[in-house]
Symmetry: C2
Subunit: 387 residues, 2 copies
């Protein structure tokens, strides 16, 4: 990882926190938000951030203030929370099933402009039947599969038109098509990312074209993942982009190559609680309960274990990682040769910050974030938990 | 996995839950509690369950009603919660540091019989200095390393006596020695487990003997992990055992060989939300946010992906697993050949239950459990989150 050239950030209140604690570097977060928004502005598309990364209203507010148009959520509980905070344009980006329609209806009845998603005739039929029963015109988007990694209908198949007709003929509002190029997480060269971004764009635009050619409405063409959003060469035919993890970035994104080390805005503050000096280990109070079990860098070009070690001011300590983790114990060690001076380097009581593999997973381990900015005290930002 | 011979458990309320949901099979949990308690009774030792697995007062109450003597916690927040629920004898089983002493003092001043832990002269000095300053006699246990996997002092080293003398001479109450054979998670034969259990017992007893031979008190000799607790052939010299995950068990424990499939008491209720029929995939709404990112069976004799599929009544569907997971999407597939009848087998809306790799990690993803028993309605049991 490259070293940061920016001045370190050390609010005087940071050493007062109980550890482990999830710390947001607010200037970095704001930089990341501006970076993505300005790129979307330049590409001529709207940005609909995926709030599943932060699950935090203060973070979403910062995204909206910077220009985001609506949000994407991964659960209906998120939709309710962010709607309560004043966000009305919300896409629930997981396939709808009958059992969740009452909760979706309740949100719409309260005034939420909730859009729901499907990729099957069966669910489309359930949506229109429920809509007819309760007199509700649901706005439904159709999920498109552009890389075979998860859900969605292929752009060229018959099922796309079948589903669209069930919705349209059944009285639902056909809002558009959406896709997510999850396979962008599996590559780490600019060329490969550009290719996946183009595949994502072209596939989703093709699906929209097929719907329109069949006389069906398709106002929205929604694509996105953080890696493809940051590498797409153009987004012709696309109306909006969804991306989530860019707001914090993480070591997985760093390995993919779409951020620098000094853009990582989420870290876990931890205390050194012991050593195994002959092994070169420091034991810290950030175990997997704090870091999460996510080992997303394991298959990437550089494996960071359970996280990269930084000093309390956020500056990197190159070569030092959490190499192992129990529930409340992290094992901090040097790559390669053991550091036999580990006790002197990181005495008991030393505060460190650990950059996580995957910001969405690490954030989820904490009920709240501690947001730090140089010009003000720590702020506590609550985070949504559960369903 | 072997099939269960027990009658399936299907409270009528289960299909009413929002999914994903963490479900406790209460009869199985009670069976697991009785099994461990009766084994400890037969071995002539006290049982101090580790509540880090459930973080739930109703579960701990069931353990105490069955005969447990005190509890073990992994955070001071757990200590406060369980003390508020009436538990007074609490071991905080993570090495103490100076910054956490005020919280420990506050608990003791409220009447909590909190025992704290150390494995270093530096922390021992901090404890006695703080105790002297605030007029508090802390009860301190010394952590022993019997298998090199994490923290602790080796039984034969000078440091053991050094730490003990700092504590004793400084006015702390030397409560005893404790060890945790974490390496028992790395084996899967009875013979290997018996050997690790004996190494754990013998090392901890040896440490106690050295303290006593030096004229120092050592009333408690505490060992434990679920695998060693269930396989130790005798516990001569040991006074208490700590174990946590036995209360629910999980697929990792099943692979280790210390439980049968019908003892797994925690599962995640999930709904089928879609398919990729040509790949033999069903998509469910339990992704890694519900299951956790724990892939503990990956290195074991059988890899269960993100979990083993069961019907809603808890009966196994052999060969079907969550083979992949995104945040709110699980990919359910058959091992080996794709199931091209997956749509008919698991139609959209089907409710399933997924057995997790690691109960401690999966439970942590949920704010509450839904406890099911055949003779009564579902109960909602809250779960502690964060630090």
């Amino acid at each position: 990882m490259t070293k940061t050239a920016k001045p370190p950030l050390l609010p005087t209140a940071l050493p007062m926190l109980d550890t482990p604690a999830a710390v947001i570097d607010v200037p970095r977060m704001q930089h990341n938000i501006r970076r993505m928004q300005s790129r979307m502005d330049a590409l001529g598309v709207r940005l609909r951030p995926h709030v599943k990364t932060s699950k935090c209203v203060e973070v979403a507010r910062a995204q909206i203030e910077a220009g985001a148009a609506g949000i994407t959520v991964s659960t209906l509980k998120e939709a309710a929370r962010f709607f309560d905070d004043g966000v009305t344009d919300i896409l629930y980006a997981v396939g709808m099933v009958a059992s969740k329609l009452p909760a979706a209806l309740a949100l719409r009845r309260r005034g939420c402009d909730l859009k729901i998603l499907t990729d099957s005739v069966a669910s489309a039929q359930a949506i229109v039947a429920f809509g007819a029963e309760f007199g509700e015109t649901f706005e439904v988007w159709i999920e498109i599969d552009t890389d075979g990694h998860r859900s969605g209908l292929v752009p060229e198949g018959d099922a796309l038109l079948d589903v669209a007709r069930v919705l349209h003929d059944g009285g639902a509002s056909l809002g558009g098509v959406m896709t997510h190029a999850g396979s962008s997480y599996d590559v780490d060269t600019h060329e490969a990312l550009v290719a996946i971004a183009e595949q994502e764009r072209a596939g989703c635009v093709r699906a929209a074209t097929r719907l329109r050619d069949a006389g069906l409405p398709c106002p929205v063409v929604s694509v996105g993942s953080t890696p493809t959003a940051l590498t797409a060469e153009h987004l012709d035919g696309v109306t909006e982009v969804r991306a989530g993890v860019y707001v914090f970035f993480d070591l997985v994104m760093h390995n993919i190559g779409v951020c620098t080390a000094d853009e990582l805005a989420l870290s876990v503050l931890t205390t050194v609680i012991g050593h195994q000096a002959d092994k070169g280990w420091a034991i810290v109070d950030a175990g997997w309960m704090a870091m999460s079990r996510d080992r997303g860098t394991q298959k990437q070009k550089r494996d960071f274990g359970y996280g990269q070690v930084c000093r309390i001011d956020g500056s990197l300590v190159p070569g030092y990682q959490l190499s192992g983790a129990n529930q409340e114990h992290g094992i901090l060690s040097r790559e390669g040769e053991p550091d036999l001076d580990i006790v002197a380097r990181f005495p008991i009581g030393t505060l460190l910050r650990i950059l996580p593999n995957h910001a969405c997973a690490t954030g989820a381990q904490f009920p709240e974030y501690h947001a730090v900015a140089p010009d003000r005290d720590l702020a506590v930002w609550s985070r949504l938990h559960g369903w």
